[in-house]
């Protein structure tokens, strides 16, 4: 096990810079998730950590050793690829034992370690099969087995679950998390799925366009997003955003949207009339006798919760209610918002003001 330090890492392809000085500190045994939309540079960053992409600038260290120019085999890392990348001409056992064979380990040792890892991942019965004879989930487990057998300092996962169906994805998510709890190996995990990030990570690194937008614990990002991007990316369904201004009346601050919706805010030190973006999560909206009058456009009951898509004049707002409500499309209701849970962001910088 080892800590990983990413210091001012830059990646350039010729003149084009795609990662612009990223800094992340990953503690020993930590499970860190790099998350962001397609093209944000998260996979490129992971491939640089793996040694599959040259580093254009900055320092990368694994276990206090600077590894910028070190070939992958000397970095003591193991990687699970999105496409599994199993050797199709080798059996499950040969796939899992490949790294030890390359290292020149004795056959008995390879066998023992492969059997041990297969036991952990419930693959013992499949050891003589070829990848083509396995299901998607089994292949994914073999790919993980190949990584475990090496007992590396760092595990790297590159969107390992994105090829699986929804049900299997949840099951594998739990398996990976359990595996980490058991092995306590430092893990860097790349995904574009914020639910995966929220459920698995000790620490999330949110990336966009080659920049780190925010680093923090999952609930910290949820409660205190640094900017509009993080606020919108983390959480499902996504946060509601309205553009407007802060207005002060009789010592009480309120948010007034460009289309006239008036919403409560917690006290904030900004000048009157400042253009802002108001953000509130759908799950922080309730129904009440007073509040913002809206007209419900669509009702989506899922059993456990009910999602309302509503309009207040030109503004659209979604609410996610825990209760089963008897509201129908076209009906007028009042949305009640707890000002403590609403956020205000600067329109220019998109940074959070409160």
């Amino acid at each position: 096990m080892a800590e990983v330090t990413i210091k001012n890492i830059v990646k350039r392809y010729g003149e084009l810079e795609v990662i612009h000085g990223v800094n992340v500190d990953i503690a020993d045994g930590e499970f860190v998730v790099l998350v962001g939309p397609s093209g944000c540079g998260k996979s490129t960053l992971l491939r640089m950590i793996a040694g599959l992409e040259p580093i254009s600038g900055g320092d990368l260290s694994i276990g206090k050793r600077i590894v910028n120019t070190m070939p992958p085999k000397d970095r003591d890392i193991a990687m699970v690829f999105q496409s599994y990348a199993l050797y199709p001409h080798k059996t499950v056992a040969e796939n899992m034992g490949f790294s030890l064979k390359i290292k020149g380990a004795p056959k008995a040792e390879i066998d023992a370690k492969v059997r041990q890892a297969a036991g952990v991942l419930d693959l013992t019965k499949l050891l003589d099969r070829y990848p083509r004879q396995l299901s998607g989930g089994q292949r994914q487990r073999v790919a993980m087995g190949r990584a475990i057998v090496r007992n590396p300092q760092v595990f790297l996962f590159d969107e390992p679950l994105s090829n699986l169906d929804a049900k299997l994805r949840v099951a594998m998510r739990v398996e990976i998390k359990e595996l980490h709890q058991r092995l306590k190996t430092t893990t860097i995990y790349v995904t574009h799925d914020q639910i995966e990030a929220m459920t698995m990570a000790d620490k999330i690194v949110v990336m966009k366009d080659g920049y780190v937008e925010q680093i923090g614990a999952p609930l910290d990002l949820y409660d205190n997003p640094a900017n509009v991007f993080v606020a919108g990316f983390i959480g499902s369904p996504s946060m509601n955003f309205l553009r407007g201004r802060i207005r002060s009346e009789g010592g009480v601050q309120r948010f007034v949207s460009d289309h006239g919706s008036v919403l409560p805010v917690k006290p904030i030190e900004v000048e009157d009339g400042r253009p802002v973006i108001y953000g509130v999560r759908p799950e922080h909206i309730g129904l009440g006798a007073e509040g913002l009058a809206v007209k419900v456009a669509v009702v989506e009951p899922t059993g456990a919760e009910t999602q309302l898509f509503a309009r207040a004049g030109e503004d659209t707002i979604d609410a996610l209610l825990r209760d089963r409500v008897g509201v129908r499309a076209g009906e007028a209701v009042n949305f009640v918002i707890d000002p403590q849970k609403a956020h205000v962001f600067d329109q220019q910088t998109t940074k959070r003001l409160s």
Binding site: G51, A78, F81, S83, A85, P131, R132, G136, R146
Partner: protein, 278 residues
Amino acid sequence: MQKNNPVLMTLLWILLSLATLFPIYWLFVISVKPAVDLFTTPSIILEKVYWANYAKVLTDTTLRRYMINSLIISSGNALLVTTLAFMACYALSRYNLAGKENIFFWTITNRMAPAAVFLLPFFLLFTQVFAIGDYKLYDTRIGMILLYCTFNLPFAIWTLRPTIDGIPRELDEAATVDGASTWQVIREVVFPLARPGLAVTLILTWVFAWNEFLLAATLTSFNARTITTGLSEYVTTTGTEWGTMASIAIITLIPALIVFTVVQRHIIAGLTFGAVKE
């Protein structure tokens, strides 16, 4: 008409097989008849077998030499060409070489001119230019192996490229992360998966060298003479020894059959299935 009627399909295949095998059968019939019978009673029916043509060919030390030359030149050429093409295709497929598509196209252009155009330049090169002291490439096996490389290599690169391109790059990366060096990646991952393509390349280049006549007839005289050119020696001013020629032709089919049988076992489709999720 019913689609995929098994009886009809079998009949069709039997007909096609007969059409393909008939010339070989006819050749065999000619090879086991005395010269006098060939023209007096032309027939494709085998009444009695006359092995003297085979005995003559098999006891002829010159012909045996020609046969050995052909085997060495074809096999040497096929192995060398396939190895070089494999490495070239790996580089073209995996490295970001400047102008690699132009290199690939330029390689193919080497096959665009007819071989006869190169006869005189090659003759001069082999007899006068490529000479160290008394040693010349003319009428040497190594000379013929290298000569066929110039023709077979572009073709082999062209044939093999899709195979190497078809092996997912993630497998190389997985092996690299697993600790393999470039040579180990090639040996342990790329080579086993490229086997079908390598087998096809090996067969086709082997057959080209085995059948080639024009260049061999011009650039060899005795030491490196191949069996195809040896055949032509039976066409003389006093007549053509059809029976002997036919028996040589039948004998030359045997190594080709053996090569096909051995190598084609490796031509298996879908070898990379299950490697990566597509």
